[in-house]
Each structure stands twice: as C-alpha cells, then as structure tokens.
C-alpha cells in the first residue's frame, strides 16, 4: 500500500493505493468512494479491508479522502458535495495514471454511493458501479440526521446549561459532517431511483439489511432489469439507523466477500 497526496497543491487529497501482486494483475482499477461524517469513521477499517482483499484478487485499488475530510486538505467547514463529486473524477484520473489501467470500477458506500453515481457521468470506461447501502431516499437520511441531533441533545443530561435542538433545523456540523445549505440540499434531493434511471452503467446494489430501504423502494429496485441493476440483501453489520451504534466500527466480512465475487461479474 502506498499512502500519498495527489491533486492540485491547493486541494491536495489523501490517497491510499493498493497495487495487486504482479502475477495476478487484472489491469482493472477499483475506486472506493467513502461515506461521510461518523459513517466514514465507522467504515474506515472495512473499506481498507475491502481494498486489501480486492488488490489481492488482482485489482489496482485506490481509497481516498474527499476535500475537507479525513487527511485531505481543507477544513470540515469547506465540505462541498459538488467538490466531492469533482474529487471522485480527479481520483479516477489519478488511479488511471498511477496504475496504468483504463477500465475502472466504482464502489460507493452510503453517501459515497450517491456521489459515485453523480460523478460517473464524467468518468469514461467504467466497468461497474457497486452501491453499498446507498441512501435510497436522501430525505430519509436528512430525517435520520435530525433524529440523531435531537438524541444527542437529549443525551446531554451531564450538561448544566443543557442543549436545545432548534426545531426543524440542523446544526452547522453533526457527527463530523458539515451541514451547509448546499450539503443539506444535496442530501435531501438525493434519490437512488432517479440516479438509476439517469445512469447508463451497470449497477449492483447491496443492502446490509432491509432496515436501510423501504419495502416499496426495495421492490421497485428489484423489478429493474438485471442488465440495468442487480440488487441483493446480504445480512451483515451496518446499523446505520441506530443512534446507539454511531461510534461502533463495522466488520462486514460477509459483504466484503460478496463484493469480491460481484465485481467479477
């Protein structure tokens, strides 16, 4: 694994490149698109494990942090979803340059899935896009963030001055995710079904449980033709909706194994 900074000097991005063993080299790249906020911290180990396993299988894998997140340049307050979409495009180009590959796969987890889909329109030669626990309806994610915020405020019985959530509003920053008006608008208008309709690439969706998607939406996605989108539920750790789990690292070994097989198809 090689950790390094890439991109422009003003907007340098942290990257971790996992090359394959020479004997197994498939000459195909995989770009991993992170989730955001606390979900980024929870899944860091899992995405690293995924990268290690995929590189062992013969892929050139690049993990990276969006601008204003992780070890990349920029303060959290400068987080901008449009910038993050551009960062994915920059990272795809970087992966081609560093690995010498042409075809790449995109893997997006949670908000990373939405960003990957947005970015894919300007990335050539994508073999497959794998969406892991995507935000099916951004408005649901926005509602969940509001619930988390209220619970965080309720939880502060240690605080002498207390904390009152502003009714109907979100704070400037919640669990590591900067909630500018632009970010909230991006999240709230996000819809996996709209993305699928607009996307011309082959998609594969995996849900860690049916808790992350409504029954109606799941049935709609399931009915899409296989050549457009294949959707599966692989029961594994995620619990993205659980406030009790916001600090817990996930170890989704079953889903990692599933993605390793799925990416071959």
């Amino acid at each position: 694994m090689h950790c390094y900074f890439f991109g422009s000097t003003a907007n340098q991005l942290f990257g971790a490149y996992h090359p394959p063993p020479i004997a197994k080299d498939k000459m195909i790249g995989v770009l991993i698109c992170n989730p955001a906020g606390h979900e980024y911290l929870r899944s860091h180990w899992a995405l690293r494990q995924l990268a290690v396993r995929l590189s062992g299988d013969g892929y050139h894998v690049l993990r990276f942090d969006y601008y204003g997140t992780g070890d990349s340049a920029g303060s959290t307050a400068k987080s901008d979803p449009e910038q993050w979409v551009a960062d994915i495009q920059t990272a795809a180009e970087e992966l081609r340059n560093i690995a010498g590959v042409q075809r790449i796969n995109l893997i997006g987890l949670r908000l990373g899935a939405s960003l990957a889909l947005e970015a894919s329109g300007n990335i050539n030669n994508i073999k497959k896009i794998i969406l892991w626990d995507p935000l099916v309806a951004g408005s649901d994610f926005s509602l969940q963030l509001r619930e988390f915020y209220e619970k965080m405020c309720d939880h502060v019985d240690y605080s002498p001055s207390g904390r009152e959530p502003e009714q109907g509003k979100l704070p400037e920053q919640l669990l590591g995710l900067f909630l500018s008006k632009k970010m909230i608008a991006f999240i709230e208008k996000d819809s996996i079904l709209d993305h699928i309709a607009a996307c011309s690439r082959r998609l594969s969706i995996v849900f860690s449980s049916l808790d992350t998607v409504s029954e109606e939406d799941f049935k709609t996605i399931e009915k899409l033709p296989d050549e457009k989108c294949i959707c599966q539920v692989i029961e594994d750790q995620g619990d993205w909706h659980s406030f009790n789990d916001i600090a817990n690292i996930i170890y989704p070994n079953t889903i990692i194994q599933h993605i390793r097989k799925d990416i071959l198809l």
Binding site: F5, W45, D71, A73, P160, Q173, L175, G176, N244
Partner: protein, 279 residues
C-alpha cells in the same frame, strides 16, 4: 493555511503510517518540542470528529511540528510481527514515532496527546520514555473523591422525583430489556481499564520529578460535577507545582461532538502548548 503536510512511514518494520503537519513559511517555528497525537480507541488517526487533523494543523500554524499516526493494527498501520502484548506494543509504536521525528526533523522532546485509550497510552509512554516533556490526557485517569460522589448523587437522593427517575432508568429499564443508551454506549470503541490509584500516583511522581508538563481535561459526559482542585487532592502527596493543569468542560461530550465545544478544546490546547513550551 500556514502549514504543509507530508506522509510519514516509519517504525522498525515500516508498518506505521501517519501524517506530519509542518509549520508553513509564515509560522514562527518552535523546534523545542513536537506533538504526537494518538488514536482514540479503534478510530484511525484523523480522530473523532476529525479532532486530530484540526489539532495538528492548529499546532503547525503555531510553529509546532505535529504527527498524527495509527498504532499497529489500527487505521492504515499494519500489525507488527512479534506477538507482543498490546500495551507494550503501543508504547513501542509511540517510541518509534519519537525516533522518526528526531531523525527526520531533529526534535528530541515530545508532547503526547490522547483521548480515552489514547490517554492511557500517552500515560504509559510518558512514564517509559524520558523524551516525553508533556502530555495531554483527554478523559484520562480519574479517581473521583467522596466529595465528587456527594456533589454528583447528593441532589438525586434529596429529590424524590429525581431518585425515582434514576432508579427507573438504571434498574427497571435494564431488567425489562430496554437498556438506556448510556449503558449501550459503553460497548463502543472507547473502553479501557483504570490502573490502581497507588500505581498511577507513583508514576505521576516520576513524571513530575522529570518536569513533565501534564494537562488533564475532563468532559462533562465522563465526569459530571467535577471540581478541578480535586485532582491535586486525590494525589495530595505529589507537589505538582506548575507542571499540572486540570480543566473540566461540563458541557462537552466525550468526543466534543458539538462544534463550539471542539473550538474551545482546540483553543485550550493551543494556549497550553504555547505557554508550556514557548519558542
């Protein structure tokens, strides 16, 4: 932005990964010490709410070289070979971080900063390695006194409504299978074991004898109603003098989840660092 950052790969087995934040051209460099920020639990080097990234950049802008890195087996650092116990391995990793910074930047004294298990590791490494000149413990070792328990629980017992509510939350809900969120939070990544007070007292005396600057900060989530004088009273045989500072942020959560709390923490740490280790 008055800093620049570089990747650090180091350790005898070259398995440790970190990011060094260096003062930019406009910052007045302070080469007396470098700061090392440790993992909190299993969270990788960026820290909860990106705490370690923000702190290391703050320090770099104030002229201090700072390193945030992953201990063996955490984040991007691979496990080290050798089968050594975890506590011992963590102290070795921190020692290797100091050796790396000395060899690369010529700095020979260090301040360690750790939250929770990071505070535990900072204490152990500070005791073992004489190169540690300062340490910050965020929700580190605490030994509440009788006065603390009186302040914390006295109002509950004197108020029948609060007493009934507390009993309900702690016993009735637990046995009904609907545990409170505070008990479930204990299962998260931030668990560790407090050493015996006598052992810690002996170690703190050793650190004070070495003139190590110690800064303890406790959050309200971990320690309600805390009186900062109590820390000195807990260890009354130790003459800390100017080498101890204790702060309590009663409104803050363990990981400084609210932005205003994080800003206050960052300011407190920068101020302490500059005052304790002037250029």
């Amino acid at each position: 932005m008055n800093y620049l950052e570089k990747i650090a790969i180091f350790g005898n087995q070259k398995n440790l990964i970190g990011v060094v934040s260096l003062p930019g051209d406009a910052a007045r460099p302070n080469s007396s010490i470098a700061v090392i920020l440790l993992n909190a639990g299993l969270v990788h080097r960026v820290g909860p709410n990106r705490m370690n990234v923000d702190l290391s950049r703050d320090f770099a802008e104030k002229g201090f070289v700072s390193l945030r890195f992953d201990l063996s087996g955490i984040g991007d650092s691979t496990s080290s070979a050798g089968g050594v116990a975890e506590n011992e391995r963590n102290v070795t990793d921190i020692s290797e971080a100091m050796t790396y910074l000395s060899a690369t930047y010529g700095i020979n004294q260090f301040v360690l900063i750790g939250l929770c298990t990071g505070a535990d590791n900072a204490h152990r490494a500070a005791v073992k390695d004489p190169r540690v000149a300062g340490a910050v413990f965020l929700d580190g070792y605490r030994f509440p006194t009788w006065n603390y328990y009186l302040r914390r629980y006295g109002p509950v017992f004197l108020n029948p409504v609060r007493l009934l509510s507390s009993v309900y939350r702690r016993f009735v809900l637990r046995f009904s299978g609907t545990e409170g969120e505070e008990t479930k939070q204990e299962d998260s990544v931030f668990g560790w074991k407090l050493p015996p007070k006598e052992v810690v007292a002996g170690e703190l005396q050793l650190l004070v004898d070495r003139s190590v600057h110690l800064f303890y900060i406790f959050s309200g989530e971990v320690l309600e109603c805390f009186n900062t004088d109590e820390f000195r009273k807990t260890f009354k045989s130790i003459h800390f003098g100017k080498y101890l500072q204790v702060k309590h942020f009663p409104d803050s959560s363990h990981t400084y989840s609210f932005p205003e709390d994080m800003r206050r923490l960052r300011t407190s740490l920068s101020d302490w660092l500059q005052k304790s280790f002037p250029t």
